[in-house]
Structures are given as C-alpha cells and as structure tokens.
C-alpha cells in the first residue's frame, strides 16, 4: 500500500526470510544433505473465493481448472491453482503479475458472486526438498506423507509444528510449503532443528 500513500514512491521490499544465513548443518554421517530449504520470494499469490460459475473466467486468465479436484493443484505453465476448500483456491502466478491479474479477473467477473484478494505479501513460500524431506515434515505434521498417499500434484492445508501451512507436493522429494509471512522465521527454525540428524542447507 506504500505506493498509494506516497504516490509513486515505494518502500523498499524485503522478503520474509531476507538476511537469514549461516544456518547450514552438515549431515552427521558425512553424506548427502537431507533437507534443502529455499525461500521462493518471487511468486504472486491471489486468494479466490467463488463457485464453479466463475470457472470460465479463471480458465481464460490461467488455463487452470477452477476449482481443482479436492486436495489437488491444477497447473498451466507458471500459473497454478491450489485447492483450499470447496469454493476457495489460491492462485500462484509470476512475480509482479498479481496486481494486474487480480484486476483483470475482477473486471471480468463484475456482477458475479466472488472474491479475489491479493495475498502475495501475507504468505511466504518455501521450497523444501532432499532425500529426507518427508521424514522431516512427518515430525511435525500428522498427514500421511507416504509418496503413495501424498504424491506430486497433491496439496493440503494442515498444521506443521503448530503453524498453519499449505503443503504442495511438486515431486517425490520436493514440496512447496506456504506459511504466513509472520510465521516464516519460526517455520525455518523448526525445519532446521528437525533436520539436524539429516543435514540442513538454507538458501535465502
């Protein structure tokens, strides 16, 4: 909102985990690092509420199904729609496109019952991957994280060590972890602690 209050001037941006460094822990057995974490700072996020009646407009702007099947992500290129509930989804898009995209979607849906909210700065996305990523997440999450039960393309809103998160499986050993920006330092600290026995690397 800084640009609204001060005209053209924007306050300098800062990602949720900027400045966090020096957290790496070598794998105790000297082998491969079990968990690698990276902040995906550049990704636009729009929360969309509405029923299937708005699906065509969403499709026009994203090429993705709305809503995706329960607990699933629908993707088209750099745009993804993450299922959050029966009439709620999270649209992920290219960084910097979210304001324009939200405006266009809202304009095309004028008069219909829906809500599109830019939540880019409210949420922090972490890419967590590595051979032991499922074992680490399982320490703080009650989901069945077996690859056969939670495979690529699946998502879930759940609790990771008391913090509300959205978990998206992008590959067998790779996840996107979306938490609130204010919970990002806590979530990162917890991941480091949980990964001590496997080795931990954080790239800001």
């Amino acid at each position: 909102m800084a640009d609204i209050m001060t005209g053209d001037a924007m306050l300098p941006g800062r990602s949720a985990l900027a400045g966090r460094a020096g957290m790496n822990v070598a794998a105790p057995d000297g082998g491969k690092t079990g968990l690698r974490v990276q902040e995906v700072a550049h990704i636009g996020k729009i929360n969309i509420r509405g029923t299937k009646s708005i699906a065509k407009v969403i499709w026009n702007h994203t090429g993705c199904d709305f809503p995706p099947a329960n607990n699933m992500v629908s993707s088209a290129g750099a745009r993804h729609i993450v299922w959050l509930g029966p009439d709620e989804a999270l649209l992920l898009c290219e960084a910097g496109m979210e304001r324009d995209l939200r405006r266009k979607i809202s304009a095309d849906l004028a008069g219909q019952h829906f809500a599109a909210t830019n939540v880019t700065d409210a949420l922090c996305v972490l890419k967590v991957e590595g051979p032991d990523v499922r074992a680490v997440l399982a320490k703080g999450c009650a989901l069945d994280l077996h690859p056969g039960k939670f495979g690529p393309g699946q998502c879930a809103q759940t609790v990771l060590a008391h913090a509300g998160v959205t978990i998206i499986a992008t590959d067998e050993n790779c996840f996107l972890l979306i938490c609130r920006t204010s919970f990002a330092p806590y979530t990162l600290d917890w991941l480091q602690d949980a990964a001590l026995e496997f080795g931990f690397v954080f790239q800001g």
Partner: protein, 146 residues
C-alpha cells in the same frame, strides 16, 4: 486422538479441527414472541449426554468449513459425518435428534414459525411489490406529521 473424516479434505487428525458444541440449535428469530426463560433455552442450555451426541465441528486448520458429526461421547466412535443444515441419515443419530428435549422448546417452535414466515413471501411474489408501493406512499405522510 480422533481421526476425523472431513467431508471436503478427507481423514485428518483431531488437532486440525475445532468442536463447535451441540448441533441443531435453531435461533428463535421472533425473540419477542417468547419469554426470557424460553429464550435462555436457546442461548445458554447445552446438552452433555453420555452416549450418542450430535455436534458441530469445523476443520479450522484445513478447509475451514463447518459440518456436523454424530459421535458417541463414551467410545468417541464417530457414527456419521453430515453437512450443515441437514439431518443425520443413520437411524440411531436421527432418533437422537428426534428425542432431544430441545424439540419441545418454545425457542425451537418460534424458530420454526419464523422460518415458515420467511418462506411465505417467496410463495406469493405478486403481493410483495404492491405492499412496498403502499408503504412508500404512506411514508412521506408519516414523516410530515412529526
């Protein structure tokens, strides 16, 4: 720990949910037509039975949607999960609903009357505009009289 089958997300751990207490408590919209004591039935009195109980739950850490559960408070067995606004289908759960003391309260009967009243204008849509016109004609006269 219970594993609760969210109607939208599937089986999840109990810690993701919040219990909203007794289900099927209708708000008596026509509050003035019942006594304070009868309104208190709606506002304050909650059942705490030993055995089958119909409860509202919310998947607060997941999809954040409300739904109903028929649960045995002794064994914690979940007999049925069913949507808000619906009645359970399982025989035992339906019997529990019918047998509740709440079915006989003035508060619930007032809620039923209000619900029926709310449905009536929809059944006779032709009369509504006429009434509104009449009200609009009367209104300026009333204001002028003050």
């Amino acid at each position: 720990m219970l594993i609760i089958n969210c109607p939208h997300c599937g089986p999840r751990e109990e810690s993701e949910f919040a219990c909203g207490g007794e289900a099927h408590i209708a708000r008596p919209l026509a509050e003035n037509s019942i006594s304070d004591a009868e309104f208190a039935d709606y506002l304050f009195l909650r059942d705490n039975p030993k055995g089958l109980f119909l409860e509202r739950w919310r998947h607060s850490a997941g999809c954040r949607r409300w739904f109903n559960i028929a649960r045995d408070t002794v064994s914690h067995e979940i007999i049925e999960v069913y949507p808000m606004g619906a009645l359970p289908r399982k025989k035992d759960a339906l019997a529990t609903h019918a047998a509740s003391w709440r079915r006989d309260t003035a508060a619930e009967k007032a809620a039923e009357r209000a619900a029926q009243k709310a449905q009536k204008p929809a059944q006779k849509p032709a009369q509504k505009p006429a009434r509104q016109k009449a009200a609009a004609k009367k209104a300026p006269g009333k204001r002028g009289g003050k």
